[in-house]
Symmetry: C2
Subunit: 226 residues, 2 copies
DNA sequence: TAGATTGTTAATCGATTAACAATC
DNA sequence: TAGATTGTTAATCGATTAACAATC
C-alpha cells in the first residue's frame, strides 16, 4: 500500500477536542488488532469497535493526515503508530499517584499502564501506617516530601486519589511543584491556573447520569414548584 | 422568597445531554452548601464551583423550571431538591458490582454512595478465593449466580470491574438479567442493545488525553507519512 | 430608588451526519 | 472493469456565549 507523503505540519490545536477524546479509543482497538496480526481495518470496523459512526472515524483520522487507502482501508500498524504519535505516547509519561487508599492501590497495580503510554514513578500518602509500605516496585513515600519526590521522580502527570477534603491542598502543591496535568478522583472541582489541565473522574456522577436515564424510562420529570 | 408555581410537566428528553452531565456537579456543590446552612446561591457562585460559565448554569437550571429569584439568586435547599428530583435521586438506586478486585473493593467501600443516591446491594466475583469474603455489609457471591442475585437483590444498575477479557460476557448476562444501566471500568467497548445505557470509565483514556495536551505544549504534531 | 441577578433571546461556535466524487 | 472504501463537502444539529430586558 502506498501512502501519501505528508506535506507539512499540523498544529496540535487543529485537532478538535471531540477527536482527541476518541483517538484513545481507536488506539485501544488498534492495539488489539496489531496483537492479532491483523493488517488492514476499515473505518466501519473501527466505528463498530468504538461505538461511533464510520463518518466520525474517517473525519477523526483525516485530522492526522491522509492515512487510508480508498477501496482498501487503513494499515493497522501504520495507523496505530500515527495515533500513538499524535497522542504523544511514543515515550512513557511518568505519573505520580497521591493517596494510596484502595483506589490508589487499584490504579497503582493496573497492568495496562505500560502498554498504554504511562509509568507510575511515585506513590504518596499522608498516613504514617501507609508510608513505607511496598506496592509492586514502589515504596509509598510521605506526602510531606511531595515537592522533592515530584522533582526526583520526574513525574509530569499527577493522579489525586485522596479524600475530597485534602484534594485541593494536594492539587495546589502539585501545581506549585510544576505538574500541569492532573486526573482527579476526589469528588470536588479543583481550582487551578488556566495552564493546568484537570480531568475529573467521579463514579457517582456516572451513576447519576444513568439514574436520570433510568428514571426517564418510566416517568416524566416533575417541574419544581415551591 | 416566592417561587413560581410550575405550569406543567416537562418530558425528560427535553433536558439536553450536556445539562444532564452538569446537574450532578451542581448537586455535589449544593449538597456542601446545604450542609453549611447556606440559604442562597447565585449562578455565578455555582459556576465558579463547577468550572463552567454562569450563563450555562442559568440555562441548565431553567430547564428544571423557573427556580431562581431575579436580583437575589437561588434558594439552596429548594434547588437541591429540584435537581435531586430531576436526576431521579429521591430514592436510592440499588447497584451490583461485578468483579471484586482492588478496584471493585475500592468502589464498594466508597462512603459517598449513600448521600449521592445509590446503595451497593450485591458483589459478585468468579474467584473461589474471593467468593464468601465479607466487604462491609456484603458477602461476595459467585458470578455463576449472577441472574438470581440480580433478581433477589433488585439491582437496577450494574458496575463492571472485571478484566477486559470477561467484561463482555458479564455485560451480556447483566443485560439478559434485565439490567439496562451499566458503568464499565474494563478497557473495552461493550456491545449492548440500543435500550441499554453504558457509561465507560477508563483511566488510561483520561491520561492519554492529558498526554496529548502535555505534548502540545512543546511540539507541533508531525503528520503521518509512510 | 439603585443595584443585583435571573431568564431568555439571538449570534456564534463546534460537532455530527449524509452523501458522493475520488480512487484503490 | 466492478466493487469497495476513503477523504471531503455541505447540511444539520446541538451547545455555548454575550447581551439585556425583566424584576426582585
Amino acid at each position: 500500500m502506498t501512502l501519501r507523503v505528508a506535506t507539512g505540519r499540523r498544529r496540535a490545536g487543529d485537532i478538535p477536542d471531540a477527536t482527541v477524546g476518541r483517538l484513545p479509543v481507536y488506539h485501544r482497538f488498534l492495539t488489539v488488532l496489531a496483537e492479532r496480526q491483523v493488517d488492514i481495518v476499515s473505518s466501519e470496523e473501527i466505528a463498530a469497535a468504538a461505538g461511533v459512526t464510520s463518518a466520525s472515524v474517517r473525519k477523526d483520522l483525516a485530522h492526522l493526515g491522509s492515512n487510508g487507502a480508498r477501496g482498501i482501508g487503513y494499515d493497522v500498524r501504520h495507523l496505530l503508530g500515527c495515533i500513538t504519535r499524535a497522542l504523544g505516547l511514543v515515550d512513557e509519561w511518568p505519573v505520580v499517584i497521591v493517596g494510596v487508599g484502595r483506589l490508589g492501590q487499584a490504579l497503582a497495580s493496573y497492568a495496562g499502564f505500560g502498554t498504554r503510554g504511562f509509568r507510575i514513578v511515585a506513590l504518596l500518602d499522608c498516613d504514617p501506617e501507609c508510608v513505607g509500605t511496598r506496592n509492586g516496585d514502589l515504596t509509598v513515600e510521605s506526602v510531606r516530601d511531595l515537592e522533592s519526590v515530584v522533582r526526583s521522580s520526574g513525574a509530569v502527570i499527577g493522579v489525586i486519589t485522596t479524600p475530597a477534603s485534602s484534594a485541593q491542598g494536594v492539587c495546589d502543591r502539585l501545581v506549585a511543584a510544576g505538574i500541569r496535568s492532573i486526573v482527579n478522583f476526589a469528588p470536588i472541582t479543583l481550582s487551578v491556573p488556566s495552564d493546568v489541565e484537570v480531568r475529573m473522574v467521579d463514579l457517582a456522577v456516572e451513576l447519576q447520569i444513568l439514574a436520570f436515564h433510568e428514571q426517564r424510562r418510566a416517568v416524566a420529570i416533575p417541574e419544581c414548584s415551591a
